[in-house]
Point group: C2
Chain length 798, copies 2
Amino acid sequence: MGKHPAADASQQTALGSDELQLIDAWWRACNYLSVGMIYLLDNPLLREPLKVEHVKYRLLGHWGASPALSFVWAHLNRVIKRDDLDVVFMAGPGHGAPGVLGPTYLEGTYSEIYPDKSADAEGMQKFFKQFSFPGHIGSHVTPETPGSIHEGGELGYSLSHAYGAVLDNPDLIVACVVGDGEAETGPLATAWHSNKFINPARDGTVLPILNLNGYKIANPTILSRISSRELEALFVGYGYTPHFVEGSDHAEMHRKMAHTLDTVLGEIRAIHRQARANGNLERPLWPMIVLRTPKGWSGPKQINGHKVEGSWRSHQVPFSDVRNNSANLEVLEEWMRSYRPAELFDAEGRLIPELKALSPQGPRRMSANPHANGGVLRRELKLPDIRAYAVDVLHAGKVLQENTRPLGEFLRDTMRANMNTFRVFGPDETASNRLQSIYEVSKKVWMAEMLPEDEDGGELARDGRVMEMLSEHTLMGWLEGYLLTGRHGFFHTYEAFAHVVDSMFNQHAKWLDISRNHVPWRAWVSAENILLSSTVWRQDHNGFSHQDPGFIDLVTNKSPSVTRVYLPPDANTLLVVADHCLRTTDCINVIVADKQKHLQFTTIDEAVVHCAKGIGVWRRASNDEDAEPDVVMASCGDVATQEALAATAILRERLPELKLRFVNVVDLFRMQPASEHPHGSTEREFDSLFTTNKPVIFNFHGYPWLIHKLAYRFRNHENLHVRGYKEKGNINTPLELAILNQVDRFNLVIDVLDRVPRLQGRSAHLREDMRNAIVSNLNYAHTHGTDRAEIVDWVWPF
Amino acid sequence: MGKHPAADASQQTALGSDELQLIDAWWRACNYLSVGMIYLLDNPLLREPLKVEHVKYRLLGHWGASPALSFVWAHLNRVIKRDDLDVVFMAGPGHGAPGVLGPTYLEGTYSEIYPDKSADAEGMQKFFKQFSFPGHIGSHVTPETPGSIHEGGELGYSLSHAYGAVLDNPDLIVACVVGDGEAETGPLATAWHSNKFINPARDGTVLPILNLNGYKIANPTILSRISSRELEALFVGYGYTPHFVEGSDHAEMHRKMAHTLDTVLGEIRAIHRQARANGNLERPLWPMIVLRTPKGWSGPKQINGHKVEGSWRSHQVPFSDVRNNSANLEVLEEWMRSYRPAELFDAEGRLIPELKALSPQGPRRMSANPHANGGVLRRELKLPDIRAYAVDVLHAGKVLQENTRPLGEFLRDTMRANMNTFRVFGPDETASNRLQSIYEVSKKVWMAEMLPEDEDGGELARDGRVMEMLSEHTLMGWLEGYLLTGRHGFFHTYEAFAHVVDSMFNQHAKWLDISRNHVPWRAWVSAENILLSSTVWRQDHNGFSHQDPGFIDLVTNKSPSVTRVYLPPDANTLLVVADHCLRTTDCINVIVADKQKHLQFTTIDEAVVHCAKGIGVWRRASNDEDAEPDVVMASCGDVATQEALAATAILRERLPELKLRFVNVVDLFRMQPASEHPHGSTEREFDSLFTTNKPVIFNFHGYPWLIHKLAYRFRNHENLHVRGYKEKGNINTPLELAILNQVDRFNLVIDVLDRVPRLQGRSAHLREDMRNAIVSNLNYAHTHGTDRAEIVDWVWPF
């Protein structure tokens, strides 16, 4: 909240009529710009009568949501200036980019960043033309938009982004306009509950402004068509104090909005006083605003006898046939002149000084708020030395350890060293994923009711910093909001249910791709780090519905400049990978590592060297002594590596003359050519590991065809035989599940016997033994419900 | 609702204390079975003192949610029997399978379907052992569970499944227990609004029962920790009349639950009377129940001084160390004996007759309700002849048509012929996707407020049958509920945002895979038909955020027995494909077809022949006359086909001596080997189309590497050069976007020049012309904002 003593004094100020008229004029300027963006190629100030050649050939854009966005912006400016507030604007209806772009242009920010879109007639013409124009900016609030961290192309995430942005930003307000279309999505519907995780002493304020403009593309919205009793109850139920601003008369709505904003800011101040001065950390009832305005507000009332303002017909371009229909050309000109541009812009096309004076200055402009270009605020994490958490691996393949537990200790101390800039997010699974050491430093934040029994292991606290809610959508949204405002985070989830946020991953990857490669003024933000645990191979408890390693398939579809995938085989490699990921920027790191006890293979020194390469030969498991092997056994993933090593042990014991090379892959993109991904391998690197003509048995954590998708260009691809998960599963013991999908040691040995030419038709004994082992292990599992305990001893005798 | 006249007379019956004691005994039997399933290998009736060898080696399962599920079941049985109700039970907390399996066993259904799990001690022992045991059934309500259409492994979809099930089933009640964990997910949070789409005259009733047991895996739940004022307001806001049943005392809770169920049924009857007798179709306030019970209710109160009943410690197995800890063994025995099994089961292990008599009979048992094995109720769709909707293609490549518009007419008449068994689902995009002809037969159902302006093109009606809400999750859930209860449906969505329901697709595919291949008693249900429109190549309006063709990548990871993907190149092939899909069962059909105007290539007769093959040579575009061509030009997808044909036209004009074969793929899985997918191609088929050694330029709709993932095993794979979407996009004209991703005609010609050995180093003129064409077309787009109109004339001169 505002730091000036004047702030409180100005509380409840009514809006004078002069001020009202100025705000209305500023809003008219915004609306004028919105229409201009959608329609005009030239004649931006309408200095001459509008002609066909001034109109774009194709009319693209979303008018409907735009006026209300600018309306909110205009009113926020008043209180920002008056109270010196620090406010970020979030446009949930991000399709309505004109309603955001207009204000950024009027505030001067747009011209500062894009000097050719100068604050004059020439710049305005370019500003109009570029909108939704090939080779220029899109029709949403894309990353090119200053002041924005939210695209709004895919709906549903504005509110969780807003809440993520205010965590640990006590003086920040995010004014989040939520569209009533967006409000129907699941992710948005549950994000209202984010208020149960906001500590009013430590975190900032989200001011949700639900804009009920009544319509989606072609339908009314649910929330605009329920009774006012239900509407109010819904937001009371979500834990808010709703305030209603409803109408269409411009002057009246200006008065209502100004008054309501004053009221709401007063409530926020009172909440902050309670928490910050009085130390009352009970969950407050945060205010929110319901702003009911006509869709396409201030636009044409009717076209051809059909209602347009206040109707779904305003959603995109209210009328398109302009170049061939002189009546419509007249309607357009009349519409634009209704905003009285000559009163708003001077002869050079500059906003008149009285209106210019309405904007806040410098970084107080919402279009220039540094939080919305978070990279400029970002500071490197202070990271502890991973060696302090390393598992002591005196004998590789003998120590059992939950792979994620040391990571939890590392994250604990990372949090300790970065208490206001680092958070961990997970859907009710931090302990399940064995990361609970974090709680030693910070518990789970919980602003809902506390019970005495929570004292006994509940790990809840008002000032906790671990975020847990059973909504992957909300968590991911919080994380994105936190990262894009310049902080650091770590998200972990069950592997199968990462698919719940597939689409959020896609959108964040697209945002980063554009920001990193096409928007030079956006400073680097911290990587989004995603740990997938409770993986496909350890679903003894939950079975088939929890078996899906396909999230990483999705990752490989997005821009190589922003995607990274790591599958560390054990606890120490996981530490090295996590340490690396926490230092990276402008990308998404996906780490796949199971939480259960696994054999440990690498010392921390070995892990550092191996992870630096991302792929490499494990010499102790190999016996090819740098000569050409008979076969390459390769692995990627923890369970896959264990089984491949066990198969290698069997082969080396039973067929000591077989020359075998063992390759492990940590960095999945090393399997792609260097031409396709920055982490890719050159042909020479690949051939030197996998040979150019020897069989390669590749044991993979995920769906086997993903490896072919990555590696198909390499020379030895035709000899690459990949094993992985093939949707064969139910309630299974670990070994049984491996056998069903043929990633187990016994099947891998048979694969080698099948593929190495000089073994074909020989080694009948070994083959028979493997078949017997499969049968007897399955029988044991089906009788006892468990695997034979001793099978882990087979793994690494080297 | 009940059909017997007795039904109304019994309204508001209080529960006599004898009846209460019987219901309590039946519930105790359920709880006894739940604990037995989780812990016991033998000694099911505790006829002898419990010993270590009677206990399972691994204890797996979820106790916490189970008792409340059985509690609800027991009470529903009372009113089902009394009023002859038709009720399906839906277990949102589907992890708590013991709480559902117990009732199905007590009702006899389980033993009827699985005779070795007989209703005696021997059967009970097997029933206990199989639970969460390798090779047997899972710990969730898996497809093997009679009476269920909802797995509950992934949380969030119970309520939308329930609402889908009651559509067009006026006499059906779905009692949907929603877990308070699940209630935090986005999909569940918005599914409450489904009541705005239920017509009380035509549709059945969902009775939501929110079970506030207070805890998730390791955290309290949000809804259990807000004030009762907020909780009540929330459900009033969602449009329900909430009824509260709260407590832990067994006798008192039985009384409250019985009374509340009577009240609630009375309200439902009143709603039905209003709608069905009085014709009042205003949206009613449906009742719902908030059932607040301790987690792990009736289980151990404390273990080792820690609270267990009413705590997250009850979530899974309340205490595990039984085989090595005799104190815990005693606790277990004491716990099980607390249910007094000897009073519940006779000496043979059969439920005593007084308790057996509590269950309804035959198909009135919720465990045997035919709606939950919907295939037995399913009737084939009556489908109109697609020829009536065919586009007249006198000259291939000359007619322009929106590909999806004829499909809309076909769906319209399909709906007309199947008014109670077919629905179309789409997120506010039916008209946007050009399927609006459907509205001629049935409008969009809308039970929220209607306004006069809706008359003008709103296409809304109380009795509409088209389902539109801006929540892909809710729509997909409705569709799944509708299909699994034996009906037919068609879902369409924007291609990029199909990813929103990736995880729902995964789960439904897994459900179908198990049902089809492992559960012989489940009758076939209609396919889930998904049309992806507004595709990647036509995002002129929305740009980069709307460009993602990766949903089909996801599809190819799931079991080949249930996955199908079609990319019809034009309107007639789309009709043929849709007609086929609507006839299929137990699978998911994904159809990719754009909504914009495209050139038409096939007559309906050609389309029928081509789609039957799924892949084939287009002879008019080819000039290899069945000899070996110099190059194969292949395409898959509408825009990809247009550009590949245009490239072919250029090549044939400029290089008439070049022998070129044109192959089109409709059925994507034809690109996989027959060994991998039932629609796959044999080696011979593949080689005969693609040759064994000639270059193949494959122009693909989606991400190019998907084709490599499918086809890597084929002989000519190394000569396969695939073009597709590579995440290069923004606001682009169609041709500009094609050029950026190199799927355009000009780049394809250059590809041919690069790949055909005898053209290499020659044809410099043609190459130069192509480069110039690229530059001039990009310049045109950037100047005018549109493509040159005439480029479509280049396409099909053959």
